[in-house]
């Protein structure tokens, strides 16, 4: 068995947690329990988990507006996350950040980012710190097919090559930037080729296949730890829901999502593979599913019961360390 059972269980649990978390977010948002703009990552779980499963808390990731999955994969507490997206004072960011600004520095989660392309320059910084301090840590940025076109992203790629930073640029190509097709926004035929042109190894993988994605990222991460500089990994995937929760998705083809949910569900694909290979039992995974449903149920209940911030103390605090 090429993967340890414990590893497979962790991978499954993590992906399944993301799925359940996102599906509950959608439900709670629709029910009015989550305010603001929320971008769910269900469908794209395999990439987040493949990227983060081997990382330690001192390895850094920088995320996007669609960041819940990355947080969970990086080990953030789902209870604290749910409270945060609900805007509660015991949330990961005291309710001041919300879904688009969720962060957990202790876990090496440098923040979701509501600015498309805001993350990669910052993740270069994390990688630069690792390089300068000689920690052998790596840093990963999550990017989209859309954010690939932001100048900040491209600058960051070039700088990562120039300074040989241990930075893995993960591109989750889910085919859309809001309601714009990836292949409209990207003038090139292949983002992977475009990124290779920057002078870094660039791989294209099927992001619905956890194992293929994991294997590619593992190589890149090891190269980065060894001082070999940055890598680009483009992983094809499917966004199961709207750009934001509530998006009517008029731009999507008929049955597109229905079909994808059938044939391109990374969780189903994972289950099918591990069962077929005899690596895990369905029953084991079903048991995990149940645990997770209960865990997220509890996160929601705790979230709804959690205290709200108090403007008299919380509005003005945390702007500066001192002022």
């Amino acid at each position: 068995m090429p993967y340890q059972e414990d590893f497979l269980l962790r991978a499954y649990r993590s992906m399944r947690t993301i799925r359940e978390f996102e599906e509950r977010c959608i439900k709670e948002f629709m029910g009015g329990n989550i305010p603001g703009f929320v971008h769910a990552s269900n469908g794209q779980e395999a990439i987040a988990v493949a990227a983060c499963i081997d990382l330690s808390d001192s390895d850094i990731i920088g995320s996007t507006h669609r960041g819940h999955g990355h947080c969970i994969a990086k080990g953030c507490d789902v209870g604290g996350m749910m409270k945060e997206v609900m805007g509660r004072s015991t949330g990961l960011c005291k309710g001041k950040g919300g879904s688009m600004h969720i962060a957990d520095i202790d876990k090496g989660m440098l923040g979701a980012n509501a600015i498309v392309g805001g993350g990669p320059p910052l993740v270069n910084g994390a990688a630069l710190a690792a390089k300068t301090l000689g920690t052998k840590n790596v840093a990963l940025s999550f990017n989209g097919d859309g954010s690939a076109n932001q100048g900040t992203t491209m600058e960051a790629m070039n700088m990562a090559v120039v300074l040989q930073l241990p930075h893995i640029f993960i591109y989750e190509n889910n085919g859309y930037a809001e309601g714009t097709a990836a292949n409209y926004g990207l003038g090139c035929d292949s983002l992977t080729d475009r990124n290779a042109g920057f002078g870094m190894p660039a791989e294209y993988v099927d992001g619905n296949d956890f194992f293929a994605t994991y294997d590619a990222i593992k190589v890149a991460t090891q190269r980065a730890r060894d001082g070999g500089g940055p890598t680009s990994i483009e992983a094809k995937c499917v966004r199961f829901d709207g750009h934001f929760i509530g998006d009517p998705q008029l731009y999507r083809g008929e049955d597109e999502v229905k079909n994808a949910r059938k044939t391109e569900d990374c969780l189903k694909i994972f289950r099918a593979r591990v069962i077929k290979e005899g690596w895990l039992k369905a029953a084991t995974m079903n048991a995990i599913d149940k645990e997770i449903v209960a865990e997220i149920e509890k996160a929601v209940a705790d979230g709804l019961a959690a205290p709200r911030p108090d403007p008299s103390t919380d509005l003005l605090s945390d702007v500066y360390s001192s002022y």
Binding site: K96, N113, A177, T180, G185, G187
Partner: protein, 358 residues
């Protein structure tokens, strides 16, 4: 009606503009903007719209014009004039603004959208160093007739990076005009002027106002820049408010009116140019000034106006100027915090009572 403002004429819908003849309809702020842009595009083939999702659905299998802007302001334009003039772009704000500015110098009248004005950060150079400065740097030998539209402001629980109202930053920049309509009537008239204007115009739409309705003339009309509106007139206190803060200023004035306190509410409508004459004229009568602004306080519009009055209207003042602004913090996410962040009626009332008590 008070006679504080010599320029003031009978008001339609919060505005003091001369009534436009012809039919009117009840229109939302969003529709009024859409009307303004649509009619100008029909009238003038050089008007184009560009930005992310201004139509929506580019390259997709589903519907075209799927969004019409994420707030629906440009909905329906693309089906009428085609993708050549309503242009969905990649997520490249610097390139969007640059394309607009370069096109404006070459015969088009582009309306570029920053989906959220918070995205100014990645495009600021093209705005303040390029578009704003061309005419001056080139010795007056160019014109850059372009509009940059963007949604601003808090209230949607959108968090720190999607809720800013950065009008003070652009107001600081010579070469830009800055427009902030507070109602549908002004939105239409100011948008028409913005499109016809020969200079770069920053047009800031407050996201909580898109559904606000009022009576709007069906025909096109342009509201000149630099002329304030006087939604309430009075003699006791001058309240200057902008964008959505006008709503709170009017509400406060109406409450105070019942107590016999009359407020002169001034909505500058354009922050650059600013109708400082109207403000100074009013303070001459009232001797008291409250400025209400959703922006952050430091180097913001509220102190800008306070500074102007402290310099040019000092001898009219009978009490300290009071500014009501957001605090010196980013916009928080949690609803309770965001509500405490944004100035509201109570804070306006408190400030007015304060300057009156003084």
């Amino acid at each position: 009606m008070s006679t504080v403002h010599t320029k003031g004429t009978e008001m339609t819908t919060n505005s003091n503009d001369a009534k436009i003849g012809g039919k009117t309809s009840i229109k939302a702020y969003r529709e009024a903007l859409n009307d303004a842009i649509r009619e100008e595009m029909r009238r003038d083939p050089t008007v184009i719209v560009l930005g992310e999702e201004v139509s929506g659905g580019a390259g997709c299998d589903g519907q075209d014009d799927a969004y019409g802007g994420v707030f629906g302001v440009t909905k329906g334009l693309m089906p009428e004039v085609g993708r050549e003039r309503v242009i969905d772009t990649p997520i490249s704000e610097a390139a969007i603004i640059g394309a607009a500015a370069g096109a404006a110098n070459n015969g088009l009248r582009p309306i570029a959208e920053l989906m959220f004005f918070d995205f100014i950060g990645v495009s600021f150079d093209q705005i303040f160093n390029q578009a704003a400065k061309f005419r001056y740097m080139f010795g007056g030998k160019s014109k850059t007739p372009m509009v940059i539209r963007g949604t601003v402001g808090a209230g949607w629980r959108a968090g720190a990076q999607h809720s800013s109202i950065l009008h003070s930053v652009v107001t600081h920049i010579p070469g830009l005009k800055v427009v902030m309509p507070s109602n549908a009537y002004d939105a239409k008239g100011l948008m028409v002027q913005a499109i016809r204007d020969e200079d770069p115009v920053i047009f800031l739409e407050h996201k909580v106002m898109y559904n606000n309705e009022c009576e709007v003339p069906d025909e096109q009309y342009a509201i000149p820049f630099g002329e304030a509106a006087f939604p309430r007139q009075g003699k006791d206190v001058t309240i200057v408010a902008i964008s959505n803060m006008v709503t709170h200023a009017i509400a406060a004035a109406d409450i105070l009116a019942k107590e016999g306190i009359t407020c002169d509410v001034i909505d500058p409508r354009t922050v650059s140019p600013l109708d400082d004459e109207a403000i100074l004229e009013s303070v001459e009568v009232t001797g008291r000034l409250v400025v209400v602004d959703e922006g952050n306080p430091r180097c913001g519009l509220a102190s800008d106006i306070a500074g102007i009055v402290a310099e040019k209207g000092f001898f009219s003042l009978r009490a300290p100027i009071r500014t009501v602004t957001a605090p010196h913090t980013p916009v928080p996410f949690a609803p309770e915090l965001e509500d405490a962040y944004v100035p509201n009626v109570d804070k306006v009332l408190a400030a007015v009572r304060d300057v009156l008590g003084a």
